[in-house]
Amino acid sequence: MDFTLSGESKMMVKAARDLAKQEIEQIEAKIEEEDAIPDDIWQKFAKARMLGMMIPKEYGGIGSSALNVILILEELAKTGSAVAFLMALNNSVVETIYHWGSEDLRKRFIPPLCDGSLWPAMAFTEPGTGSDPTAITTSAKPDGDHYVLNGTKRFISYGHKKGYGVFYAKDETEKVTAFVVDKSSEGYTWSKPWSLMGLAGQGLVDIFLKDVKVPKENILGEKGKGFHILLRWIAGERVQQMAFMVGMGQECLNESLRFAKERIVRGRPMTDMQGFQWMLAEMHASIEASRWWTYRVASKQDEGDDIAVDSAALKLFVVPTIQEVARKALQIHGSYGYCKDYKIEKLYRTIASPGVTAGSTEIQKTLVGSALARSKEI
């Protein structure tokens, strides 16, 4: 078992840190104020070759490992910015198209999502459900060489940005099927973005599909087998989310240390007080445990293992663990932590999101618990 990171991985982390400093942190205040991410940030990610990293070169990716992606995301996450999440969404969407798409779909849809010209999306959630695939109502009816999609998708990140999205709908047999949808199709419209607690600029819109024609060849995997695609997608997404949690947790600790070393309480720095030292120690231990488990699941993904249960277990552990880290960070900052002038305020809000997106923490418990109950090993 080798726990050392390669030179290549370390250099990637460094490059990600420089990118975060130069390109994200500089514009973060503006993003918060305007609740919008400037379009050119996408080209910057493309130039840094951070889009579709796990996809082979011939389709526009760079053929990197899941672990490298996780390490980069962890670094970007320290900004607490929605911009950091962009890369993750792109990775998981193109990876899904790559894994399940025909050669024709791969060639048509992946390169423009890797070169920064188009934006991805993944649309599962609906007004009626975000957790239960059997409850979705968006329909896909065959019509000649097309399917015609009707329905409403809710909370779709970047659903309004020109590009392609993976959409889940029920076909004529009431089975969930995954389609690649061109977001500039006729009948494809959107709401104004939801205003969120955190993640300013995320661009979360509802999508209205009215007789949207999608060519039959745009089906990913087999017709009626969209649920498998969703499960595989979401497992990878969970690991990426947890890399964000680790990065943000680390930044909570860093900010707390900076603050506590300088803040004088009863004539001495807060870090001299045992109570706060204990809090810092617990934060550190929580982050380390979360970090190494996240790396472990990413490595399993690289080894080609099914990570459905591992990633669910990881999420149900990391989400509350890092949320507690953020809570402690706020306590250490006192009222300053409740002010927007301090980074901890934003981190706290951003850290609240992974527990209720891409499957809530509770659902992970159901997933892991039922897998344990089904297991025949004991």
């Binding site: 250099m11 460094k14 490059a15 130069q22 070759r49 990293m53 760079i62």
Partner: protein
Amino acid sequence: MNIVVCIKQVPETSDIGWDPKTGTLIREGVGGILNPNDKNALEAALQLREQHGGLITALSMGPPQAEDALREALSMGVDKAILLNDRIFAGSDTLSTSYALSLAITKIPSFDLILCGKESWDAMTAQVGPQLSELLNLPQLTYATVITVNRNSVKIKQKLEDGFRILEASFPALITVEKEINQPRIPPMDSIMEAYRDKEVQVWTAEDLVKDKKHFGLKGSPTQSRKVYSKKVQKGKVTILEGEPDEVAGRLIQTLKQKGLL
């Protein structure tokens, strides 16, 4: 246009200790990074290559871990990387460093320019570039904030304490660059992978440079540190000056003058 860029790995933090006995920096346990100013030299070289073509060789003298600095240069896009590594190089001052680098450069088949950072952030002598040009008998263009290459000559805008100068020299020449010359590129992820997987860092030893080794390392270094010590920082008291703005400003200036700060 073929360019050699001399780069150095420096300790990651400026807050490092000294060995009171030998007077050298304690590098153990401190991570190394590519000297920030050398990144400007690399970036300048890459931009010149984009305009005029050619090959870029990055050259570094240092311990085995300095290979990381060269891998970073490869990630940024240089074509070749050479590490001068030998135990005998240990303890080199700027003169014996320049000496070793100059010997290595004479072994590089052809070059039109040598680029160096102005200074390294651990030692900050700004001596290696100029010494190297003397040893190689090349024109030296120091403190460049702009480089323009013409057909048979190279021009720089040199930053001086109280202004700028335009200098011009024929090829080959040596240039040291200021940090404001450019914003170094962030290496793209695919290029990092190539730098580690597909590219080579050649390692040259003292033997590869010259037979007579007396000018290398500690022995070849005329500079010896007698004594090193950290500056003691004493915290003063805060004085709050009160009164009318004009009067307070006057008193402030007076106080600063008294303390020798103005």
